[in-house]
Amino acid sequence: MARKVQLQPAYCMHARAYRESSQIVDMLTPGHGLIAAVHRGSRKQRGANRILFTPLLISWSGNGELFTLTHVESQGARHFDLPGMSVVGMYLNELILRLTPKSSPSQGIFDLYRSVVMALGGNEIPCENLLRLFEIKLLEKTGHGLLLDREADHETEIQPHAVYRYDVESGPVRIGQSGPAWNILQGTTLIALQSPLEMKHESRGAAKKFMRGMIDQHLGSRPLRSREILQFMRMTPPD
């Protein structure tokens, strides 16, 4: 018998056109993790595309991997309307879809996503700091947590002026001199990453480079496409 799930909180991660007027949507839910479902006739409904970055309540039914959405309602206003923010939101969604296993329930990931999109709309915390927080916490909740306050031996404290090489498997190892690789970084950067929301402007560049390299380690060979858009937007004008 088809399973029916009623009125679950959810966020839409992605919607793509399916057949004439439907969409296939990927939804993040706390109780059922990431689910994919067909949203019948949704492309004909006005404003159907506004479900991104909006807190939703959804019901679905079905068996197997692709469910059928039977009900979608918004539980509140969309968290942000600025298109510039939507690009950042798409980056969050892409990270969730690439790093989270399908159908594995996680209240933690749902709460993290909700708090970060709400804060992005609130505009009080610098966007870069929110992104670093999201990346660190998402890695932690998907089983790739970082060691930021101790060296790889789990005892020696991180020194601000020392140079470290971050080993993906074991953690930071103190080394003699700095280098260009993504995983060679100053102690100050590791310390700044311990509380990303308070990160000062001067640490942001190095923190971003490190987190970017770290995420790439877990993504495999396919690059993140939303990053390309962010990079294109920051390009310098042609001479």
């Binding site: 991660m13 006005r46 937007m233 390009m235 004008p237």
Partner: protein, 208 residues
């Protein structure tokens, strides 16, 4: 032998017919049943039409490419709109699909040029700035005397993001951007318009 087996066996007598039915299903909105009807119609009643359809389809697929300036479909290097000397060259209207150009040409008196993106930015579908030809447009903005870029992308999240990226790109070169107005549909009643649209329409009201 069941009735179903008989039916399949009958169709299988012509594998070419089966192939035709399957191929017709690549058209939007055409399922197995309509495809079968189309195939029988073409073979039974309109072989001439079928012949000319297949010839034109073949030629169209081989010869129609994209205009080097605006990416609209054309069999020439540059499309008739881009070649038309009477069009205003200081304005470029950016749209998502070739169908949008036809709509704008039919319903407005716009006399400028176009740029067709062939989609909108959607990272999760693998569509980034390169796929939309944004570097080509950026080069055009740098080399031609463009004064205004009209952002006529859809009012979806992806369309808005695309418009935003385009406006940043034009801004870097000091070019003015304008966005299509959003509001109450012609002939519509306020009561039935959704809240966001009313808000947009109210904010964008103009002198009457």
């Amino acid at each position: 032998m069941s009735v179903n087996d008989l039916g399949d066996g009958e169709l299988a007598t012509s594998s070419l017919l089966n192939q035709l039915i399957e191929s017709l299903q690549c058209l939007p909105g055409v399922g197995p049943k309509s495809a079968q009807r189309m195939a029988f119609h073409l073979l039974q009643r309109n072989r001439g039409g079928a012949k000319s359809l297949s010839d034109v389809l073949n030629r169209a697929v081989d010869e129609i490419g994209h205009c080097k300036n605006c990416r609209i479909f054309t069999e020439q290097e540059s499309c008739p709109i881009c070649q038309d000397a009477s069009r205003i060259r200081t304005t470029i209207c950016v749209v998502e699909n070739p169908a949008d150009v036809f709509m704008l040409e039919k319903s407005t008196d716009y006399k400028g040029l176009y740029f067709v993106l062939m989609g909108s930015l959607s990272p999760l579908d693998g569509i980034g700035p390169q796929e939309l030809g944004l570097p080509i447009l950026e080069k055009r903005l740098a080399e031609e005397a463009v004064e205004e870029l009209i952002l006529a992308t859809n009012s979806t999240v992806e369309g808005e993001v695309t418009a935003h990226v385009l406006s940043e790109m034009a801004g870097r070169q000091g070019i003015k951007t304008t966005r299509l107005a959003q509001g109450v549909p012609v002939g519509g009643e306020l009561e039935f318009v959704d809240q966001n649209t009313i808000a947009q329409a109210f904010a964008g009201r103009k002198t009457y």
